[in-house]
């Protein structure tokens, strides 16, 4: 047995080193460690051996096995590396090929967001882009959310390592909401304006089926003379009926966001039970789908707008949640999973 192992070792080590391609190397690996491989068979003979023999053979086998495995791995890397070296012999070849007729698919988020944007474009709203990396000022302080205010509990925040830019820690962050656009819009544009802001936001959130640290928000920032909560109700109905159909019922309830006053939650009649009460809506018959309010006078002032002359509406929702309800998607992680098998189920339905 001892001899046999030594022969296997020398034999195969030589073969491994002589191998020129990965396919032969795979064959050698099987010949050693496969179901009927030399090493596998040798192990099976252990019960026949005496105790004395085993004392010598067992450690030897372990050693032979480990060394051959390592030799295969090493040779595999070498062959690959030889292959990589040959890449420079391949030519840059851009000869045109015929493209398939079959179309691909937009992400369900894109389809939905374009639909939403279309609904509000009809009302004269225009898109505005706000940065995703922003200062504490635009994301919080100027929105009437001072540092150390209990309301900050609403937003668990991801901060950037900002000292390399000479910025004090905690002052540079990943925006937690699209509301970071509000004061920017006010400072850049004269009222009246009707803006919509769309895009990625971030929260300090551990992932599970219901929680994402990266998500989309859609928000309206609308300033004019004489805007009211009745307009807010109109906007809510406009969107929710547009998405879920004319039979959708919409109501407002009191809500608190520091940058609006009065503040409102926007409920839609539960799309599953139509108001009777079910598991999804927790028995109340309504689902909270959006948050809104009349822009707080302090925020208007921070944006350089006189709250005695103008009033403003801020209104927003999370497209992920809306889509989960619309398509019955159970896992919020689906959207950014890149898993085509899953994502392709939802594309096209709203077209």
């Amino acid at each position: 047995m001892e001899n046999r192992l030594k022969i296997i070792y020398q034999d195969y080590l030589h073969k491994i080193q002589q191998t020129k391609d990965l396919k032969s190397l795979d064959e050698i690996f099987l010949a050693l460690f496969g179901k009927n491989g030399e090493i596998t068979l040798a192990t099976k003979e252990f019960p026949k051996l005496s105790k004395e023999e085993l004392k010598v053979v067992a450690p030897l086998l372990a050693k032979v096995k480990a060394e051959l495995e390592e030799a295969v791995t090493k040779r595999r890397e070498e062959i690959k590396e030889e292959g990589y070296q040959k890449l420079s012999e391949e030519k840059l070849d851009l000869t045109p090929v015929e493209l398939p007729r079959e179309k691909g698919h937009l992400h369900v988020i894109t389809t939905f967001e374009e639909e939403t944007v279309g609904l509000f474009q009809k009302l004269g709203f225009q898109r505005y882009d706000a940065p995703q990396i922003d200062s504490d000022d635009f994301n919080f302080s100027l929105l009437n959310i001072p540092e150390d205010h209990p309301a900050r509990d609403l937003w668990d925040t991801l901060y950037l390592d900002s000292e390399r830019f000479g910025i004090e820690p905690g002052k540079l962050l990943l925006r937690t909401h699209t509301s970071n656009s509000q004061v920017r819009i006010m400072r850049e544009h004269q009222p009246p304006f009707r803006m919509m802001v769309l895009g990625r936001c971030f929260r300090y959130e551990n992932l599970d089926a219901r929680h994402e640290h990266t998500f989309e928000q859609f928000e309206i920032v609308y300033v004019d003379k004489g805007l009211s909560m009745a307009n807010l109700q109109y906007l809510s109905e406009h969107l929710l009926k547009g998405i879920f159909g004319e039979e959708m019922k919409v109501r407002m309830t009191p809500g608190y966001y520091p940058f609006v006053e009065p503040g409102a939650g926007v409920d839609g009649l539960c799309i599953f039970c139509k108001g009777k009460g079910c598991k999804v809506c927790g028995g109340v018959g309504w689902l909270e789908l959006a948050g809104a309010g009349m822009i707080h006078p302090t925020v208007l002032k921070n944006g350089g707008i006189d709250p005695k002359i103008y009033s403003g509406i801020a209104w927003g929702f999370g497209p992920f949640r809306m889509l989960m309800l619309k398509y019955g998607i159970n896992d919020i992680r689906t959207f950014l999973s890149g898993n085509l098998k899953e994502l392709l189920k939802y594309e096209g339905e709203s077209k």
Binding site: G104, D148, D161, R194, R251, Y256, E288, H296, L340, K341
Partner: protein, 563 residues
């Protein structure tokens, strides 16, 4: 805040069923999270209504929205037990007035620690708290009813029975009630005796001075602490508690004195006796008078609400209202510290009217000036054109995963870093999208033979001047050939032609980083007007192999703003 239904009924003579009451709370006050036969829970996350952190506050609110009456009457100052008798002071010193505007210590002797009555145990349980013993339970029951946290120190464990409110020394140590050693900083406020700290003010008591089975004399503390100081300390030690929550939301002197009086009475019923009291008061509370215009109110709500309705609604909420011409002078009750400006009062009127009764009103007014929508329109067209060539759109995280960082040998110093990531998977922001697409292509190859995906999104760059973000398009493609770049290039030419892009291609030298990432020859630069805007190439198989993929993978990445 869990509202005990039985307890609420003690405080309000409800004119309606409990079901209707809860639904009114949901519609007119605050979202209700959970309802059981014993309690309903108010969704207080981030909410500014400190009054709803007390059952008395909830009782006032419920009475107002259901047209009911509260059963209790608030005592006059002259009725407090320490006013009616002459008592000595107990030694107290406040060294940090700005952090502790009001501090009260009542000494109660003759107590015997035992179990609480079933009624107390149920009230605590309904409110989501656990009964400890009768002496400690009083502090929690008072906090729940009045919203004012109180704390009982075992007087025998406080040296010289002397309490000092001060900021901690650097490195000072304290073992808190949960048996953990806390290393303090000068931003933490402590309650101390002349030798050492005995509690973390407003956050958690100290282990040493905890009520034990043998306690007979207590020093009962009721205080108003600076909310910011409490929030910082509670946040740093990750010690959110029922008490610290209330300190952070803000407290009032009126309620504090009522709470102390209530606790003294409860201790009296347990056989205790008030023998000394000290109240150090630097608080400055002023009633706010807010002017509310009827015209503004109607214009902000968008409904014509009759003046009488506004006035009676506010009065039900215990606001003092005085009509002056077409306006009112309004003073909120002391427990509504959240009401500060006209818009706050308008919200009160709106919710009493019922948000659900506000009808929709079409948008009027001229359409605003057009602003440039070019980038958004371009992105939208671009995506559609890409889909027309057979590619699928995906969206990936704004971070580089640990797998991407490792397999692509990404130099981390060139990335923006998150200071407080949830995990290593969200520590670095992406500076390109293609690596994320490669990761996803590798996963999708388990289900598909060919994968062609694109993403349009932002990348995040650490520029000299600070972080910068820009939109890029990235495409990654695997087909059944050993040169997928041919197909990708054909796609790009079609997209370019369809959108009329003026992008030219140029063969060029690879820099050190590109030598790692790209195939040595299958690599070209994308240029617009002589400006370098992107790359098209095959990703180096060494990198691809690390993802467990043996096929060849082509990619394109191009900055959109210059196109």
């Amino acid at each position: 805040m869990k509202v005990s239904i039985g307890w609420l009924r003690e405080l309000v003579k409800l004119n309606t069923s409990i079901e209707k009451t809860i639904s009114s709370v949901d519609l007119k006050t605050i979202g209700v999270k959970e309802v059981t036969e014993n309690f309903f829970e108010l969704d207080m996350k981030g909410y500014n209504r400190a009054d709803l952190l007390s059952l008395r506050g909830v009782a006032y609110e419920v009475a107002a929205i259901t047209d009911s009456e509260v059963t209790f009457k608030e005592p006059q100052d002259s009725e407090f037990s320490w006013v009616k008798q002459k008592l000595p002071e107990t030694p107290v010193k406040v060294e940090t007035e700005e952090n502790c505007p009001l501090y009260c210590i009542a000494k109660i002797e003759g107590l015997k620690v035992g179990h609480s009555s079933p009624n107390w145990v149920k009230k605590l349980a309904d409110s989501g708290m656990r009964s400890v013993n009768n002496v400690a339970d009083v502090t929690n029951l008072v906090m729940l009813e009045y919203g004012q946290p109180t704390h009982a120190f075992d007087a025998e464990r406080v040296k010289d029975q002397t309490l000092i409110v001060r900021m901690a020394d650097t490195g000072e140590e304290l073992i808190t009630l949960d048996n953990k050693k806390r290393i303090l900083e000068p931003t933490d406020m402590v309650i101390a005796d002349p030798q050492k700290s005995v509690g973390l003010a407003g956050v958690m008591g100290g282990k040493d001075s905890e009520i034990s089975d043998n306690t007979t004399t207590i020093l009962l503390e009721a205080a108003i602490f600076n909310p910011t100081t409490i929030r910082r300390t509670a946040g740093r030690f990750n010690l959110p508690s029922e008490a610290s929550k209330r300190f952070q939301h803000g407290l009032t002197k009126v309620r504090l004195l009522q709470a102390v009086e209530a606790a003294i009475k409860m201790y009296k019923n347990l056989g205790g006796k008030l023998t000394a009291i000290t109240i150090i008061d630097h608080s400055q509370e002023q009633a706010k008078e807010i002017e509310v215009s009827h015209q503004k109110l109607n214009s902000l709500i968008g409904v014509d609400i009759k003046p009488d309705f506004v006035q009676s609604s506010l009065e039900k909420l215990h606001f003092q209202v005085e009509k002056v011409g077409e306006s009112w002078k309004v003073t909120p009750p002391y427990w509504r510290q959240d009401v500060e400006i006209e818009a706050d009062v308008i919200e009160e009127a709106a919710r009493m009217y019922g948000y659900e009764n506000i009808p929709p009103k079409k948008l009027t007014g001229e359409l605003p000036q057009k602003i440039d929508q070019g980038l958004f329109e371009f992105i939208s067209k671009l995506k559609q054109t890409l889909v027309d060539t057979g590619l699928d759109e995906i969206q990936t995280y704004s971070f580089f995963s640990t797998q991407v960082l490792k397999n692509f040998e990404v130099p981390k110093e060139r990335l923006l870093k998150v200071a407080n990531p949830m995990s290593a998977e969200t520590e670095y922001l992406r500076v390109r999208i293609a690596p994320n697409l490669v990761e996803k292509v590798a996963e999708n190859l388990k289900a598909f033979k060919e994968v062609g995906v694109f993403e349009v999104g932002k990348v995040y760059l650490p520029m000299e001047s600070g972080p910068s973000e820009k939109y890029v398009l990235s495409i990654t493609l695997v087909d059944e050939t050993t040169n997928p770049l041919r197909k990708l290039f054909s796609i790009w030419q079609k997209v370019s032609a369809d959108l009329g892009l003026k992008v030219t291609v140029e063969e060029g030298e690879q820099d050190a980083r590109e030598k790692v990432v790209f195939h040595p020859t299958r690599f070209i630069k994308l240029m617009v007007n002589g400006q370098d805007v992107g790359r098209l190439g095959e990703i180096h198989p060494r990198i691809i192999n690390r993802f467990g993929v043996e096929k060849r993978v082509a990619m394109l990445e191009i900055a959109l703003e210059q196109l």
